[in-house]
Amino acid sequence: MSESELLNGLRSAVIEGNIDAAERLAKQVVAEGVDPLRAFDEGLRQGIAEVGDGFACGDYFLPDLVLSAEAMKAASIVLEQEIARTGVVRERAGKVVIGTVEGDLHDIGKTIVGTLLAAHGFEVVDLGVNISAKAFLAAVREHEPQILGMSSLLTITAKELKKVIDALQEAGIRDTVKVMIGGGAVTKEFADSIGADGFAHDAELAVRVAKRVLEMD
């Protein structure tokens, strides 16, 4: 198999959500001495980007996205090991702290956002659900993320999002972190009104917005 066939195969395995094939091809990349960073970019990232585009326009659905992310993750583990072995430093997309605001117990959407962000090379710290403004503040201080991502599915808890942003402001660290919000209760207008840096109503969009707020695209 030529190098381009190998990379195309890796891309296809991610698109198809074929976890076994993704892992097998990643091992083949390593065995044949193909640049693992190139495999990441031209194989894995292009594959997940295509699935993401499909999700955004309604052709792909959440199970597709999660399955492709798992395929990417399986291949990533193999490639990361090779990258570590060669001593090459892989550029991380950034660190993201995520959580659902106080009073809200919804978990799934936030967790899927975390999965996708990790698949796209972000380091993710998931605080869980029902997180107070104080706890978000403490997490930002501890982990020093580039992005703080918060979810609120309920209109009544959406006010907590502003509370966190205000707490960051009062603590003098608002400028150290980009704030992204999402969830059923959130709109772009609301995000703008409370001073959030980004807004996304679904997991795939969250990844794009994360890259945009960090000016990666």
Binding site: G17, D59, P63, V66, L67, G184, H201
Partner: protein
Amino acid sequence: MKLTSMIHAADWLLGLGVSVRQFVRYCCEQPPETRKGMPVLRDWDLALDADSVLWGQGANPAVIRARRPKLAELAERAIEEGRPYLAPAVLYRRIPVVGLRHERLTLAGSGHLQGPLIAGRLAAASEVIVAVCTVGDGLARRISEGFRTDPVHALALEGVAAAAAEALAEAACRRFEAFGQAEGLQASIPLNPGMIGWPLEEGQPQIFGLLPSVASEIGVSLEPSGLMQPLKSLSLVIGLGRHLDSAGQSCDYCSMRETCRHKDHGHV
């Protein structure tokens, strides 16, 4: 209900225009256990299939079957795995309507429901059925843990839980409609707190206030945020009346209809 209490209640209700027939039905028709609590229905055979589980994950079944047949197979397996962890229960109460004024629907026994949606859809109701439905939290822990190790599988179980809650609410509504049909009454569409015209933070306390035993009877509690625990629970009200408008569907009043991927609204 003690005789003296019944007499006082009758006096008051008849003064407000509630018919004798409605009052007698309210006092005598319901099973004895409602004197202390509300009727609880647990005999549900939930209709779950792979399609409903896929919709529960926000996926169009026809597209998934064509593109990822293994996800459809996983949905089938998830039903078998998840069903034993479901504990469907519905607690309900049937209450005569006393009157409507300024979007406030006054109910027998000093309860009320209030909101533009309530006034718009239940103005012609002679009685309402308020209910809380739950499938319990047996699956929730498995789902939460599953996301750490096998997100695809966990998402399928989440689809089962979502489909089960939806199936339970639909089955309950059909049963409530049948109550009405047996008496020549039409039923409204089910209304849920959080719909357009009935904010969650207003509607949930109204329903829970009318069902004081819901936590002890079926284990559903209301958080200050308006969220119910277990999460896979639904609250609703259905109106019954001889001249009630039953046209339309609940989705017509859902604020997330434009981006919803859990039903075929024509944009999935």
